[in-house]
Amino acid sequence: MNTDVDLTKPVAQDVLLEARGLSKSFDAVQALRHADLVLERGKVTALLGDNGAGKSTLVRCLTGVHPPDTGTIAINGKAVHFATPDESRRAGIETVYQTLSLIDDLPVWQNLFLRRELTRGAGPLRILDKKAMRTQAKEILTELDVNIPSVASTVRRMSGGQRQSIAIARAAHWGKQLVVMDEPTAALGVRETAAVESLVRRLRDRGVTVLLISHDMSQVKRIADVAVVLRRGTTVARREVDSVTPDDLVALITGAQPGDAGE
């Protein structure tokens, strides 16, 4: 692949994450071929591509689910190697999967602190600090303007949009570097989609870096700053969202419009 064409032109901005030449094969299928991705700090980057273009595989490389076969990933200029999701999480990357990873029968505050429980006391008598977690959960949600009747209610009682918002708030709170969202509004109605989109905008206003997988071009226009397009496992284009139309993005995805490598 043509690597001397700089697809990603790190527009001299503050680069949070830089992935270069990522390749990944599953048996005979090459899911990624020298894919590149540069994420600017504090921006919402949309990752676009048709089904099978390698979006999910690229994300899984960043989150440690599938370490890449070749290629480098650097965060703040330092090379990192994630062999497990835990390592990626420790580096400050949080992912909101489509399944949301919420426990329905646990209250909202417990979901926000899942696997990061606050405790008091020591040794075997260390107990959950429920009060502190409840208070902080309220603060986390208030800060992000997430409207939940009570943090003590179980997640089961929440609407689809509320659940999505809780999952995003959790990721944004713990994801000190990057929040990855996999089609966050795919299962939502119009009003709930709008609420989640404004939450993503608020995250950006607070300086959170977001990588957004979406199939909805008008949504990308509404909330993303930069769009990166994958085709057959390769990064073919990077566009400032303001400079393109949804039709341009679709054409880049399908190949009707050639990418930057000038195929």
């Binding site: 999701p85 990873s101 919420l102 426990i103 329905d104 646990l106 899942l114 696997r115 429980e117």
Partner: protein, 305 residues
């Protein structure tokens, strides 16, 4: 409204049952009968706490049906072989724990279906129990164990204390520790628990080990109460332990637990047997009554969520 009823079904039903038996016979609400009722309920309460842990992680432990006689028989065998009371008790508890650990390893590490694993170990362990003493009963005339069954602190019997302490430990573990959160999460949504980094296999192993441990402790109470062990003993404790948990409002699909509910469920089942005996109702009706109660609990649980 329906939800509150479902949530407190076991305590409510327990009170209702007490009223019914109180009206039906003057022999029911007497000090001696209450003492006997709660002493015999203690064994089921302890076992049900173990079953509660397993059901919380969306599993089921069928092996408790033979794990209790197994633990009791190990106590009998070691005691008759001159191990002394403390060592025999330790051996019995350990024997129960080992069965739980093996179940847990097969389910969590080898990804075998919990139902099949514990059904298999139910059979294997009952065979081991028969082999250990050649199918013979063993008498254990340990002063300490007899005292455990008959004495206490003032009017508080040791058996009650054991049951309360075991239930308190289970409640502490489930609702006040990280481990408890992981037990509830693993049972509530295995995929999500794995996604957020909870060590689901270790958590499930722990639940089965806890159930085995509870069977070991129940085995000590059993030997204490019966003065020995009987390897051919057929108990209804398997169904009753599951029934107590379901009556208590926990879902068999996991993720929800209620220690108060499970304890109330266990006492309720014991009260049913006690009341029937007092009223001279044929014991053949007892399994029917237990079964109907369980089906009723399953019906009520439809209103939960």
């Amino acid at each position: 409204m329906g939800e509150a009823v479902a949530r407190y079904a076991a305590p409510i039903a327990l009170v209702a049952l007490f009223v019914v038996f109180f009206i039906a016979t003057p022999k029911f609400l007497t000090t001696s009968n209450m003492t006997a009722l709660f002493v015999s309920a203690a064994i089921l309460v302890v076992m049900s706490m173990g079953q509660q842990l397993v059901i919380t992680v969306a599993g089921i432990d069928l092996s408790v049906g033979s794990n209790l006689p197994w633990a009791a028989t190990v106590i009998g065998w070691t005691w008759t072989h001159g191990w002394g009371t403390p060592a025999a008790i330790a051996a019995g508890i350990l024997a129960g724990l080992v069965v739980g650990l093996v179940n847990g390893l097969l389910v969590a590490r080898l990804k075998m279906a919990d139902f099949i694993v514990t059904l298999g170990s139910l059979s294997v362990v009952s065979g081991l129990t028969l082999l250990l003493t050649g199918g013979n009963q063993t008498a254990v005339s340990s002063g300490f164990l007899q005292g455990l069954a008959l004495n206490g602190i003032g009017p508080i019997r040791w058996f009650w204390l054991v049951a309360v302490v075991v239930a308190a430990i289970a409640a502490y573990l489930l609702f006040w520790t990280r481990t408890g959160t992981y037990l509830l999460s693993t049972g509530g949504n295995l995929e999500a628990a794995r996604d957020v980094g909870i060590p689901v296999n270790r958590v499930r192993l722990l639940a089965y080990a806890g159930s085995g441990l509870a069977c070991g402790i129940a085995g000590v109470l059993f030997v204490s109460n019966n003065g020995g062990s009987d390897p051919t003993m057929q108990t209804n404790l398997l169904l009753s332990s599951i029934a107590a948990v379901v009556l208590g409002g926990s879902s068999l699909s996991g993720g929800r637990a209620s220690i108060l509910g499970t304890a109330a469920g266990a006492v309720l089942l014991q009260t049913l047997l006690n009341g029937f005996t007092l009223l001279d109702i044929s014991q053949y009706y007892q399994p029917i009554a237990v079964g109907v109660v369980v089906l009723g609990a399953a019906f009520i649980s439809r209103f939960q969520r």
